[in-house]
């Protein structure tokens, strides 16, 4: 065992047990004890105020990382336009950059994307790093990895944020391994540790039952992917200018090994519920496609988008592009009305960014009520018509 207790100094105060991320430290008979869950991470050593912990863990000194500066946002695009998640990252990145006293920078990789530099400037970018090449017109894992790795090595940023999109989740892990960096996936909250300047990366684990805060103290840049729909986009400031820094694109034949042969868009286009301001959503309690008809009426009356749970999608009551939750879309509307949704953790995780949550369910113990602002225990088929009537009267 690499951590042990000096019993005469230990007061059983429990600070070490609180500090242990693995729950390996227990307090028994007013003494701390290390259990076999210990991974020898050393988190307890710093927490003890009574010199009661000793260890033979050799903490490697943290290298000087002060040369790494700037918060970079990988600005993912589609058909020449910024994805909503890119704007969200600019908002969050700007906040982090201000806290660090460093510049917010955007990274564009593609073909013919230079016109987006002004938009990124309006979203707060001081610099825009641009890799523009016809061979980058479509996403190619190996080529994008090469180009980004070259940029990072040339300019040494402190932080790199990417959207946890299909592209981001393919590219970020490859890039982080290429550069020998850490990476935290699918973050829902970011912050800066005031003492060390480390990026604190908070993400759900175990299907959303647990939140974990993670940091990467020894390497730079600190890489994180961020779940779309969670962060707030910034107010655009028209007329802002950014310095555009062009990166020479050097690709080897081996970087072009993966060949994109075709792209087939989803049949049902035109709906993006992650951007909706008001959402009326239904679950098992709506019982049928007809039951969803009532929700559709409410949605229409409120100018809302209709959405559903995994169950509603699997039953065929609503299309998969309108599925909310961990396997569906994360949303952050002003108003979310959950009708007949019990609120499995996977669903709750997808709606936590909502400003107001109204929940209607017959079961008073439904977990959805734990995240609701307004809770109504009752039958959807009685409450929703009453809401419709009240709405019409209010108008």
């Amino acid at each position: 065992m690499a951590v042990w207790i000096i019993e005469e100094n230990c007061t059983g105060c429990g600070l070490c047990a609180k500090a242990c991320p693995y729950g390996a430290m227990v307090i028994e008979d007013k003494l701390a004890r290390v259990t076999d869950r210990c991974t020898e991470c050393g988190a307890c050593l710093a927490a003890c105020k009574f010199e009661a912990l000793a260890s033979d863990i050799e903490q490697e000194p943290i290298p000087d990382l002060s040369g790494y500066k700037g918060v970079w946002v990988f600005a993912e695009t589609q058909e020449g336009k910024l994805l909503p998640v890119s704007r969200e990252l600019m908002g969050e990145g700007g906040r982090l950059a201000a806290e660090l006293g460093q510049d917010l920078c955007a990274v564009l990789v593609g073909s013919g994307l230079e016109p987006l530099a002004d938009e990124l400037a309006s979203l707060g970018a001081k610099k825009v790093f641009l890799a523009d090449d016809p061979r980058l017109a479509a996403y190619a894992t190996l080529a994008f990895t090469r180009v980004l790795a070259d940029m990072i090595q040339a300019h040494a940023p402190a932080v790199l944020l990417m959207g946890a999109t299909p592209l981001g989740r393919d590219l970020a892990p490859r890039l982080s391994r290429r550069l020998d960096l850490g990476l935290t996936a699918d973050c829902t909250q970011l912050g800066i540790d005031k003492e060390t300047g480390n990026l604190l990366q908070t993400r759900p684990a175990f299907g959303g039952n647990v939140m974990a805060t993670i940091y990467t103290p020894r390497v730079r840049p600190q890489m994180a992917t961020v779940r779309p729909g969670v962060m707030a986009p910034p107010q655009a400031r028209a007329g802002a200018q950014a310095e555009v820094i062009k990166q020479e694109v050097k690709l080897l034949d081996s970087d072009l090994l993966l060949k994109l042969m075709s792209f087939t868009p989803l049949a049902s286009q035109g709906v993006d519920i992650s951007q909706a301001k008001t959402i009326v959503a239904g679950g098992r309690g709506c019982r049928s496609r007809e039951g969803f008809g009532l929700l559709a009426e409410l949605a229409q009356e409120m100018g809302a988008e209709l959405a559903g749970t995994r169950v509603a999608v699997e039953e065929g009551w609503i299309g998969v592009e309108r599925q909310i939750g961990q396997t569906g879309v994360t949303v952050r509307p002003e108003l979310y009305i959950a009708c007949g949704i019990s609120g499995a953790i996977q669903h709750r995780a997808g709606i936590l960014g909502s400003r107001f949550i109204v929940a209607i369910n017959r079961d008073a113990n439904a977990p959805v009520f734990s995240v609701a602002d307004y809770a109504i225990v009752g039958d959807v088929f009685k409450v929703v018509p009453a809401m419709l009537a009240a709405l019409k009267e209010a108008r």
């Binding site: 299909p166 970020a172 490859r174 805060t213 042969m261 792209f263 009453a386």
Partner: protein, 265 residues
């Protein structure tokens, strides 16, 4: 064709809860299962073997009891497997995990195709597949939902994207991660069950594969967990009681008051 499928033993996350006092995961009574997405990876591997011939090995890293998931894979039809179990592997983040798995792939004699599930349901990171490809120096396609063409030199696969799907040609050797749409897992076969019963799962540790303990486990991890905590419930909640008509009217009234719903001029 040599196929290696990576599998992970995970707690059944639907039942995992955080103890609010000790901030540790309550694992008592929580079953260990094969990561559900890895069953799709296994199914994809079995389909590839049917089309192209060859052999399918399963690779896992975990505690000694994770040998169970390899036996389970053999029930489904895998030819053999390898478990990487060593105290030195404990506490690994995804970077350190890929170091061990890359050594495991080599210990199995390499592969034409490595297949992973899109992510594990305990960590949900989706990082190990692409990271392993980088470690092995082979190209990858993540989130594969189907196969178009299979030959000895390449795979033509469908890659799921948010707004549709790509068709991508992946030269071999290569790695794919797969999503549910790749195919529902077949039931275990009787023959497989008989084989699994007798099968002795080979186990290797870090030193067996020439890995330095500093490269794997917690020591080889760049990310560190600072804190784990239970998700926050919303602060204030108002229960709107009474008959449905009253409650329905009351909630609309509250939303109008809060200016979430705009009415009138």
């Amino acid at each position: 064709m040599k196929i290696i499928v990576c599998v992970k033993q995970v707690p059944d996350t639907a039942n995992v809860k955080l103890d609010p006092e000790t901030h540790t995961l309550k694992r008592e009574g929580v079953a260990s299962i094969i990561n559900p997405f890895d069953l799709f990876a296994l199914e994809a591997g079995l389909r590839l073997r049917e089309q192209a011939g060859g052999e399918l090995q399963v690779l896992s890293m975990g505690p000694p009891q994770a040998a169970e998931v390899i036996k389970q894979a053999i029930e489904f039809g895998a030819d053999g497997g390898l478990l990487l179990a060593d105290r030195a592997f404990a506490g690994a983040d995804t970077w350190a995990t890929t170091a061990a798995l890359a050594a495991g792939v080599k210990a199995l004699g390499g592969a034409d195709v490595v297949i992973c599930g899109k992510q594990a349901v305990d960590g949900d990171t989706a990082q190990v597949g692409p990271g392993l490809a980088m470690r092995l120096g082979i190209p990858q396609v993540a989130f594969v939902k189907g196969f178009r063409e299979v030959d000895g030199q390449s795979l033509v696969v469908e890659r799921q994207m948010d707004d549709g799907f790509d068709v991508v040609k992946l030269p071999l050797p290569g790695l794919i991660t797969v999503v549910r749409e790749v195919g529902e897992p077949r039931p275990p076969s009787l023959k497989g069950k008989m084989r699994a019963k007798k099968y002795q799962v080979p186990v290797k540790g870090a030193a067996d594969m020439g890995l330095d303990a500093a490269q794997v486990g917690l020591a080889g991890s760049y990310t560190q967990v600072v804190e784990v905590f239970a998700p926050q419930a919303s602060g204030e909640r108002e229960m709107l009681g009474g008959a449905p008509a009253e409650a329905g009217a009351a909630v609309i009234d509250r939303l109008v008051q809060a200016k979430v719903i705009m009415v009138g001029s």
